[in-house]
Amino acid sequence: MASNEEILAGLAEIVNEETGLAPEAVEMDKSFTEDLDIDSISMMTIVVNAEEKFGVRIPDEEVKNLKTVGDAVSFIAGAQA
């Protein structure tokens, strides 16, 4: 079980690895597409890497609901609970 802060930090690391964005730019209220300019291929790569890192499963139909970084953090926290 990871705290929301730990999940955010882990997610920021994955986003940085995929896109080169600075980890501190990955904030809870940021939109993946609008703010972080992440395309669908990068988003799926981030999802798959997050599944491995956090030991959760993020169903494909759920991915479209993960609009902000906060959405992803909450989903991962819920899936780990």
């Binding site: 995929e18 896109t19 080169g20 799926m44 798959v48 599944e51």
Partner: protein
């Protein structure tokens, strides 16, 4: 009136230099890019061949990590060479709808394909990343170059094994002559120094097994030749309609005067022993460029260093050039950088253009005991090419019976 096509930009990343100036200096000096492979997979899979010629500058020294992540290694090399050629051309303003790409590969994204297969077996389908298909597809390199330059007049990928890079120039010339484009970024890229292709080429007895002497292993025309040395890298050339180049005051290296492609229809891998397909390709390229045998002063030969491959090329040169073949300075540059497969024709085209432009022939190394059945005038020490109007040819032949030839004329 046929449009005249000129070459205005050159790029390369190879085992003997990560850019054109370094490669050219080394090609005139005569160095070997072959090294013993330090990878643990050589022993793990008990590969019969322990060496290859890797690019002297790793792609990650040039591209950013994030940029490289979305490209197969072959595409990384292609984009590096294309950027150098584009910068070298000095083109700043252009019509994107009139810029095309003809960028070849022989094998394509083999690292991506086999890595994804390993991932599927070890971790399941969910871990096979979404960039897998665009990275492994053979047109990945042409697509990446098109995206990088904003080329919208079509992006093509000729695939004809080791003739691919030369066939890209054949296609590029045609795109400009037929009026479909004014500029074409032509090239070839390959990155197949992976245990599977090494095992496969070794299985067909195509690779040298001189494991105790990697730098002496690629020895075209030598009696001791026993196969080619696997290389990797990319070459790129900016082709431009002459009127387009003149209008912007471009530096013109040479004219791409003629090209041709033929097929042997003889055997899937063995070259026609009479070299008939190669002869037809040479004659067709010369006819296309309105070139007489006496105009030709230099040939960058395909010469891979296999026992059976080097001789039919000589037979073909003799048939196409007649007695004049004795007066032609022949360079077998695979002796230095190994065989870059689908990239070889593009890199050798860069060397051929420079040979014509600088009036110097690159060296052939490791020729100690020349095969008496191949009495060519092989360039083994510093050699100047004559002044005046000159023509050089570059040959490439590929498994499948593909023959491709380009003719480069001085301007």
């Amino acid at each position: 009136m046929t449009r005249k096509v000129v070459i205005t930009g050159l790029g390369a990343t190879t085992p003997i230099g990560g850019d054109v100036p370094t490669m050219w200096q080394n090609a005139l000096k005569g160095v070997s890019g072959a090294r013993t492979l330090e990878d643990d997979w050589v022993a793990k899979y008990e590969l019969p061949v322990h060496f290859a010629a890797r690019c002297s500058t790793p792609a990650l020294d040039v591209l950013s990590r994030v940029e490289a992540k979305r490209m197969d290694p072959s595409t990384q090399f292609g984009v590096i060479a294309s950027r150098e050629a584009w910068a070298d051309s000095g083109i700043t303003e252009f019509d994107q709808d009139r810029l095309a790409v003809a960028f070849a590969t022989g094998i394509g994204g083999v690292w991506t394909l086999l890595d994804a297969w390993d991932t599927l077996k070890e971790k399941g389908p969910r871990r096979v990343l979404p960039m897998t298909v665009p990275m492994l597809m053979p047109n990945g390199v042409a697509a990446a170059v098109s995206l990088d330059l904003g080329a919208r007049a079509g992006a093509h990928t000729p695939v004809s094994a080791c003739a691919s890079g030369t066939e890209a120039l054949h296609l590029g010339l045609d795109l400009i002559r037929s009026g479909k484009a004014d500029i074409v970024m032509c090239g070839g890229a390959e990155a197949a120094i992976h245990p599977m292709p090494l095992a496969a080429f070794a299985s067909m007895q195509a690779l040298s097994r001189r494991n105790d002497d990697p730098q002496g292993a690629s020895r075209p025309y030598d009696m001791g030749r026993d196969g080619f040395v696997m290389g990797e890298g990319a070459g790129a050339l900016v082709l431009e309609a002459e009127e387009h180049a003149l209008a912007r005051g471009a530096r013109i290296y040479a004219e791409l005067a003629g090209t041709s492609v033929t097929a042997d229809a003889y055997h899937i891998t063995a070259p026609d022993p009479q070299g008939l397909g190669a002869t037809r390709a040479l004659k067709a390229a010369m006819f296309d460029g309105r070139i007489q045998a006496e105009d030709v002063v230099h040939v960058n030969a395909h010469a891979t260093s296999t026992p059976v491959g080097d001789k039919p090329e000589y037979t073909a040169l003799k048939a196409a050039l007649g007695g004049h073949v004795d007066n032609v300075a022949v360079s077998a540059t695979k002796s230095q950088m190994g065989h870059l497969l689908g990239a070889s024709g593009a890199v050798e085209a860069v060397l051929t253009v420079l040979a014509v432009h600088e009036r110097k022939a690159p060296l052939t190394i490791n020729l100690e005991n020349q095969d008496p059945e191949i009495p060519l005038d092989v360039v083994t020490s510093s050699r100047d090419l004559p002044a005046g109007d000159i023509v050089a040819l570059s040959n490439s032949f590929g498994f499948g019976g593909h023959n491709a030839v380009i003719a480069v004329r001085s301007v």
